[in-house]
């Protein structure tokens, strides 16, 4: 059995990376991710972790070095946030296109301008189409557990794709929580050593990332698409296997509140926990309230989401990112396309809330619920909590 300790979540993630026996950590520090890679650099320096630590001069280089190490057959980890993720953007497509199963934590943070170091999902929503498997943690224990699972999912021969574990910046990364750290032996039993299918090898030369002429690029993208679609059952299998080994159970889509509730919140990330409290209170007050939490974001778990929302008449979708000039927030937009043409399509009420670290409280969730039920939140979306002369 592991031990339960009070630990900053960033350090819990670093523990997970250490327990995963990574070979290479390539990193550039950026708030609010810094503590993770700082801690890993200490582990490497004091010999607790037998890995190469590559300090680089930018996130573009961090991802490039990670990619290079992955092609050499190493188990690789890096972490970033916000502007750093944006700077990695170009390389992210190359990593997935080359099917390199490295793992990255994104401590989600708003993008400039104005400069904000606080949490929202603006950074990761700009990376929806990179072909990485993406999962969202809601609390510290999940951040640690899902990081361990991420290596196993990414490296599965049926997947071989890079994976991002999203943790909300500060709300998770800098908060001290009670976290169970598994024993190294237990993790070794769960996560076998990585054996690459293809790697750079002078005895057996291969070319990675060649020119994709129009006569084969489409087929290469099809291969990537099939890999990410096919990763869903593997994610489920690995999460189930983790549950069996460690007795902490995770599903692709989670739900709580009143079963079969007509009005359901949809959340992703740490706001889900605040919303959960609000939903519990609403149910206690006799309201028909439920909640669906999206854990796996890419590939989107369509069947599981539809099953979780069966019977819902109204979804109150909380987007922690603004898509300026679009018809609604990114999560709501995907859910609208999921339900398009379905006779059971619920009304989708969209709120863009909690931008740049703005608190969204239990009371506010209850207020949203009341407004949504009484039709006061109609239209494509509502930016929640904007101070305005109009209001």
């Amino acid at each position: 059995m592991g031990k339960r300790v009070g630990l900053e979540v960033s350090l819990a993630v670093a523990e997970a990376v250490k327990l995963a026996n990574v070979d290479v950590v390539s990193a550039y520090p950026i708030t609010p991710q810094t503590h993770i890679v700082e801690e890993l650099s200490i582990y490497v320096a004091n010999g607790e972790l037998d890995a190469e630590f590559i300090p680089v001069e930018s996130e573009h280089s961090a991802m490039s070095a990670a990619l290079g190490a992955a092609t050499a057959g190493a188990r690789v980890y890096t972490a970033t946030a916000s502007q750093g993720l944006a700077l990695m953007h170009e390389i992210l497509f190359i990593v997935s296109g080359m099917r390199m199963p490295l793992v990255m934590t994104v401590a989600n943070r708003a993008l400039s301008a104005p400069i904000s170091i606080w949490n929202d999902h603006g950074d990761i929503m700009a990376e929806r189409d990179i072909g990485w498997v993406q999962i969202f943690a809601e609390n510290g224990q999940e951040a640690l557990d899902l990081t361990l699972c991420a290596f196993k999912i990414a490296e599965d021969k049926r997947v071989l794709l890079p994976m991002i574990v999203n943790i909300d910046g500060f709300t998770l990364s800098h908060v001290i929580e009670p976290v169970i750290i598994p024993d190294h032996a237990e993790v070794d039993a769960f996560l076998p050593p990585y054996t690459p299918v293809l790697r750079l090898d002078t005895e057996n030369p291969v070319t990675f990332g060649p020119v994709g002429v129009p006569e084969m690029y489409t087929e290469a993208r099809k291969q990537l698409e099939q890999a990410i679609i096919g990763s869903k059952p593997v994610v489920e299998e690995v999460l189930d296997g983790f549950g069996a080994a460690f007795d902490r159970h995770y599903k692709l889509v989670e739900q709580n509140g009143k079963p079969g509730a007509k009005t359901r919140f949809v959340t992703m990330g740490s706001l889900g926990e605040t919303c959960m409290t609000a939903v519990d209170e609403l149910v206690a007050e006799g309201q028909d309230a439920g909640q669906t939490r999206i854990r796996l974001w890419r590939p989107f778990p369509e069947e599981e989401f539809l099953a979780a929302c069966a019977g819902a008449e109204r979804l109150v979708v909380i987007d922690r990112a603004l898509s300026p000039g679009a018809v609604c927030g990114p999560v709501a937009s995907e859910l609208k396309s999921l339900f398009y043409g379905r006779p059971d399509a619920p009304e989708i009420v969209n709120l863009v809330a909690g931008l740049g670290g703005r608190d969204v409280t239990v009371r506010e969730f209850k207020e949203m619920f009341a407004m949504a039920v009484s039709g006061k939140l109609s239209g494509n979306y509502t930016m929640w909590g904007v101070e305005s002369h109009a209001s």
Binding site: L198, G209, E219, Q223
Partner: protein, 96 residues
């Protein structure tokens, strides 16, 4: 639907990697060509500058010491004609 693809997506190597070393030899860059270099052996001083500057490395010396491109690879870029100090190479339309 016209068939433009080289192969089915299922047959591509992982991540579209190339598993066979040295395969660039098989890539026929010659079919990109619309102009081709023509060597006037009377003017040629066998200096080999054309071969050195050829970006496709496809110009090699023959038994008489003259430098001619391999048209399987020559893209018709004209660098050889541009670099020739004796204007011994002229670019002519493909097929002429």
């Amino acid at each position: 639907m016209s068939k433009q693809a080289i192969m089915a997506w299922e047959d591509l190597a992982l991540g579209a990697a190339i598993l066979k070393p040295g395969n660039a030899k098989e890539l026929r860059t010659g079919d990109w060509r619309s102009m081709k270099p023509k060597l006037d052996e009377e003017k040629c001083i066998k200096c080999a500058l054309c071969a050195m500057y050829c970006p496709e490395f496809c110009i090699s010396v023959n038994a008489e010491g003259f430098y001619h491109p391999d048209f399987y690879f020559c893209k018709g870029c004209g660098v050889c004609a541009n670099e020739c100090p004796k204007e011994a190479i002229t670019m002519v339309k493909e097929g002429e």
